[in-house]
Symmetry: none
DNA sequence: TATGAATGAGAATTCATTCAT
DNA sequence: TATGAATGAATTCTCATTCAT
């Protein structure tokens, strides 16, 4: 009997392995051969799992999308205060900064290479998911969550491209203070 | 006598014209033929002015670098208050947002494709220049200027990739308030 | 399972086929397309077997080298006299004159296009092999074998470039007489 | 008044300068730019003097042809003996061996790249001239002169390609002895 | 006459994709 | 299902040649 489950699982492993490859070299500069070598399979095998190189990028992006949704939903403890939640979230981002930097770069690759027959506005949904998840999890007003999201993307971009010019910890403390300040000042009466 | 051509000036014009091309499609996905067509010259001419495709990217990035330095230095009126300066600066960014979005994407391309024999740490210098120019011009402490720089990069990234998800004017107002709040609160006694 | 191909054998066949091509047109004037057409394969296939055009020349020269060594070693009958050996050798050269003319021209191509990271002094080894094989096989003193080698190269060069100006048979008879004369006169007492 | 003589003289100088270039790198591997640089003129100027790259090779070969004829005719002293003439000739070749090596390589280039609308059988005439000049000057029977010619070409080829494997002086002494031997033995009465 | 900027056909090489095994 | 040899269109780059100045 063919192992259907394994097939999907295998595909997911394959996608994971070339996530970093695409992020660091860029989609166009990674060859199918490279991917195959990285994954330890032949190019022929790759084409059993994916329809094309393009398809790899698309499926990878969608997989990331789904996976991150699932992860984020289970992150927060219901009993925490806003400030605690924010702190936790920033620690979470800090710990996975490598991943988020790559995700940011992958998103650009997807932005550039998506075909218009991709179902719907995948990118918009992707961003919206993150923005809303942040608002919900940290319980921030959407505008503030957006602000935080935008800033964190800027920070990921910055530390990847100019690694020596800012201290990520200093910047995270700064944004924490700022958001905290906004929360407390806006919740204060008059 | 041969045709009189200002070699450097012509080269700069050529570089300007493929700035957008590289930003939108990405360096690897733009062909020399495309560039030549866009510029209205032959591929041979391109190689008369540039040593390689790589060389086009490098020279373009350096040109941008130099040009932006010169522009930024002449931007500010000495008599303005901090707040006024910040406002002016944000208007400046807003008006040139298209350009800054492209610059951000070009920077990633340069980051990916630079060769190690490029003189020094061009990228670091590039970022440092912007960070310091902002600190000086708006007269912010460096940490706050860095914060602003990082946020604005995040914003440029966001509006390019997810154009429908946030209002750039709302976000600019928000960051203005935040910085203003920081300035005033930190300058207040006690 | 992929198509079973004896990689090395196939490569050798390919090399054989472009031997004449390189000899007659010269390395630089043969295009990869021409080679591919001549061999009945695609350009892509060529690059599956060889690292570059340069590499084809290098591997071809080395293959020739090895093959000729093996052939020459089995040529001579132990029981023959010096004169008989010489005669046989000249017949051998005469019969394969087309090949030797091409080999001479190929050697020039290799001389011109070899890269310095080629292992050792391939050309010198190549010549030394021939000189020594001749001395041994015909049992001539090295100096006389060198003389014969040099003359025969000259003859191959001549008949290829100026085919109507000398009769190869006359010249072969002449050199036979000369060598014979040298052998007998030097072996005579007094 | 236009200087017609200078034009031709200039052209001859130009041809001289790229003689070595063509010999060492081969016709196809020398660029017009290289030639122009070597000659210290622009590519445009080159095309005032020559119709094409091909034309440079053709005119160069013809110039060499004519020049060598003129030189050789004035070389010999009428009063010398055969043996003396042979010796002188070999010294002449020895002194100009660099030139003859290049000439041999140029001849191959011409052989490969001549067009069929080149007037007559230039190559054949070229070889015949040398063969006859040698027969006349040294006063050898044509067959022996041919033999000498062929051998010397072989020697030039050998010392250029395999410089460490034979001593040119040893070989020249050997051929001298051989020819001498042939002369004296054939002139002796039965 | 002399220049060298401009041209574009054609070169070597790469690489996504196919398919016989 | 898995392989990797084979394909050939497309890419970057070169270079002989032209021509406006």
């Amino acid at each position: 009997m063919p192992k259907i489950v394994d097939h999907d699982q295998h595909r997911e492993e394959l996608l994971n392995s070339c996530f970093t490859l695409f992020a660091t070299k860029g989609f166009a500069d990674v060859t199918i051969r490279e991917i195959a070598d990285e994954l330890g399979v032949s190019t022929g095998t790759l084409y059993h799992y994916f329809h094309s190189k393009q398809g790899i990028l698309e499926q990878m992006f969608q997989m990331v999308n789904v996976r991150d949704v699932n992860q984020a939903l289970t992150m927060m403890d219901e009993s925490l205060s806003k400030i605690e939640r924010l702190k936790r979230f920033l620690v979470f981002v800090r710990e996975r900064r490598e991943y988020f930097q790559n995700l940011l770069l992958i998103t650009i690759e997807y932005f550039r290479h998506r075909t218009m027959d991709d179902a719907g506005d995948v990118l918009q949904d992707f961003a919206d998911f993150y923005r809303r998840a942040m608002a919900e999890n940290i319980q921030l007003p959407q505008e503030l969550a957006d602000f935080l999201f935008i800033y964190l993307n800027g920070l990921m971009y910055h530390v990847r491209l100019f690694p020596r010019s800012v201290e990520i910890d200093d910047q995270l403390r700064l944004i924490e203070n700022m958001i905290e300040c906004m929360i407390t000042s806006s919740s204060k009466p008059g």
